[in-house]
Symmetry: C2
Subunit: 249 residues, 2 copies
Amino acid sequence: MRRISIRISYDGTDYHGWQVQPGLRTIQSTIEQVLSTLDGKSVHLEGSGRTDAGVHALAVCAAFNLDNPIPTDNLRRALNRQLPPDIRILEATERPLDFQPRFNALAKTYEYRIWREEICPPFLQRYVHHHPYPLNEVDMIAAADMFIGEHDFTAFASADESDILGKSKVRRIFDARMWRHEEILHFRVRGSGFLKHMVRHMMGFLLEVGKENHLPEDLHYLLKGHPAKVPYSAPAQGLTQISVEYPLP
Amino acid sequence: MRRISIRISYDGTDYHGWQVQPGLRTIQSTIEQVLSTLDGKSVHLEGSGRTDAGVHALAVCAAFNLDNPIPTDNLRRALNRQLPPDIRILEATERPLDFQPRFNALAKTYEYRIWREEICPPFLQRYVHHHPYPLNEVDMIAAADMFIGEHDFTAFASADESDILGKSKVRRIFDARMWRHEEILHFRVRGSGFLKHMVRHMMGFLLEVGKENHLPEDLHYLLKGHPAKVPYSAPAQGLTQISVEYPLP
């Protein structure tokens, strides 16, 4: 048996997110089906994390076991031939048998993009959130910086995430930055890990800062394990997972 | 009654081309439906030309008569609110009552894009033709140049175009240029007018030159009213109509 990791890029618009869900078209199930035909038996694809319906990926990682002795370059080509064009395999790599794309990840990076002008080009509208209304971008940029560091992100966790086991909601954000480039307001965040819906809740909060419903300073208490969830979530389509980083082999 | 022209941008992927066809979703019928709700009666939208199913437009022109006294800026906003996000109205302009977007056009520009590398990004695949196989791009660039000038494009006309009336197939190409920029091979052509399917047949022929099934010099006879149609047509999704030009008011 071999352990193979793949780097995957996808346009999430026409999928119900990463994770297999009965009767729904998802990224994981679409790739698993193709892998299973290659190996002649059911193959389980283990992701580096999940993305919500409509979220995109520039390059995420997943891994699977394979019996087929096909060289990795041929495997990449065979997968791309059978997958729909909105999912692409960028690379396939041989790994140690104990490689776990989720637990071995050192860092993940996400980017959120907001189109700020009245008319959003048809060729970009799948990949940005269109918000042409006034925003205090100076305050948003200041607030984005404040996410850097180790914080308790309880307030930014998904409301449906189980708290029963009392799992830690502390995450380390290595870098968080917002900037405006022409018509697009970008928010890029790199961290050790992210809770379910966390980036969309962070961006939702930043939008409330932009609308002056919150001050950047509100993060002082919101990032200290504040028990109430922020009720803001930015739309999925503006979000792209940029990368997942692993230790050098 | 007023005569209004609109500049329209669209992603043609999910439409059966420009022209109204019973039971099919087209650009023309989608915009006509919204215009008709605005004016409380059926509105006919006259295009500057037709695009095939899957062809895109950066900025094309169309015109209609309207009784509603709504200012043009508000009209643009009202249309964009009701249209799907893959069709955008860039501008609405008051015109003389005799303005005809098709017959008043001075020039049209199209661009065809070919993705030349093995892996076509999911975020671009709707807007390029993916051809990662060997092509003699030097010969293609030489052949593209030869389209410039006034020629009889009978060989590049659609096979289903009626020849009964013996309408002239002579068209003037002001500029035609192919160039490679990073992973993309571009072909841009600007002319007085184009026959149905003409740009896709031109690009289809250029691809045959790239595959060395034709020499650039074959254009010497093909552009002199050669009666047999070239049997090559490049896929619609790589084609975008860039602009339509009109006389200054």
